[in-house]
Subunit: 206 residues, 2 copies
DNA sequence: GTCTATAATTTGATAGAC
DNA sequence: GTCTATCAAATTATAGAC
């Protein structure tokens, strides 16, 4: 059950980047926080800092997708699922003293112009999030094209909400986003199908 | 008409940060790009890199607010105003080869945990944007509380849309956001007042 | 206001012993 | 796999001549 060195390195890097950003995080900080020597870091990540960032993005992308799907599985209705996700994100912000909840957006924005490997993996993660949200909306009765647009909107609202709430040191922007969620989802589902709600019930009660 | 040294320094810093982020931009790069010597930079900004970032945020905040208000002034209807803003942002992305359109979100995310002066000025700029959008929505017939939520949503969508489009090197996410805009605005205005459209006409034709 | 020179520190990365 | 020692380069910032 003890975490491996590799895992400790990735976890420590993720937390440091959430606090200080990609360029603001040094390998010496990672070495101290993990803890692991510089030699160990390069043993597991011969590609250096860039490879480490890729690992952080892949790991975070997977964790958040699973979180979203577990929230969705428990939600009473589609609109509540998204609201609940934003509420949970707000709680996380408070618990962590407004450290950035997502290292991916930060890294992507910092190095999208200078590191193609990082840009590509961040793009793939965002796509997987959009796909997960879109699938859920379609299953709930939305039309595919509208579901894709709305899912994209949710990811932008999540990343943008993190920036505003972190900057303001208040969850108020994230709560405003959560409030806007319900009518958006309700509209997409009713537009996609008059029996959208019935379809959802059929799926949930299966 | 020739730009002052101070202006050249701020402009160069803003462009560099849009490409490489705050921590990814060095004063030697600024010195070369401005152009201005390191001594000149410290002459105008004794507070160093942090003070320079504050100036960039204030300048960008003002420019974007003016851009938003000029688009609003020309728009036929409220929903079109926001769509047009997102479309223009998309065009900017393409023209600049997907350099980040907004240095503020990047800087804020990188150093919100380490620089209170920067965090505060970024927060003030976001607030001013929310206020400008909210005022416009209220004048168009929306209820104040709903206008504030929707305005907050627009700023998060803008920042989040920039991240996704920059990461994907495609304006598709930004266009998806633009498509979602119209029904949101229409709904807020009709809910706020049955004569929202009439109120807008009265204001525009004054 | 502009310029060069430089101080003090830290960075990402590598080499090689164990 | 882990460790220490070290490299070359770059960083922010300051000093002081002009």
């Amino acid at each position: 059950m003890a975490s491996s060195t590799r895992e400790r390195i990735v976890t420590a890097t993720s937390e440091l980047i959430r606090r200080y950003g990609y360029n603001g995080t040094s390998l010496s900080q990672v070495s101290k926080a993990a803890p692991a020597t510089i030699g160990s870091i390069y043993h597991f990540f011969p590609g250096g800092k860039e490879a480490l960032a890729v690992a952080v993005i892949e790991s975070t992308g997977s964790v958040y997708r699973q979180l979203f799907e577990s929230i969705v599985a428990e939600a009473d209705d589609p609109a509540a699922a998204f609201s609940h996700f934003f509420d949970q994100a707000g709680q996380l912000l408070i618990e962590t003293d407004y450290i950035d909840p997502c290292p991916i957006g930060t890294i992507a924005r910092e190095v999208a112009s200078t590191s193609e490997p990082i840009r590509r993996v961040a793009d793939a993660v965002f796509d997987s999030w959009v796909e997960a949200a879109s699938d859920f909306l379609v299953h709930s009765g939305a039309q595919p094209s509208e579901a894709h647009d709305l899912a994209t909107l949710f990811v932008t609202m999540t990343e943008g909400g993190f920036i505003l709430s972190r900057t303001k040191r208040s969850i108020e922007p994230l709560l405003a986003v959560a409030r806007a969620t319900n009518p958006l989802v309700a509209s997409a589902i009713s537009a996609g199908s008059p029996t959208g709600r019935a379809r959802l019930d059929a799926r949930v009660n299966r």
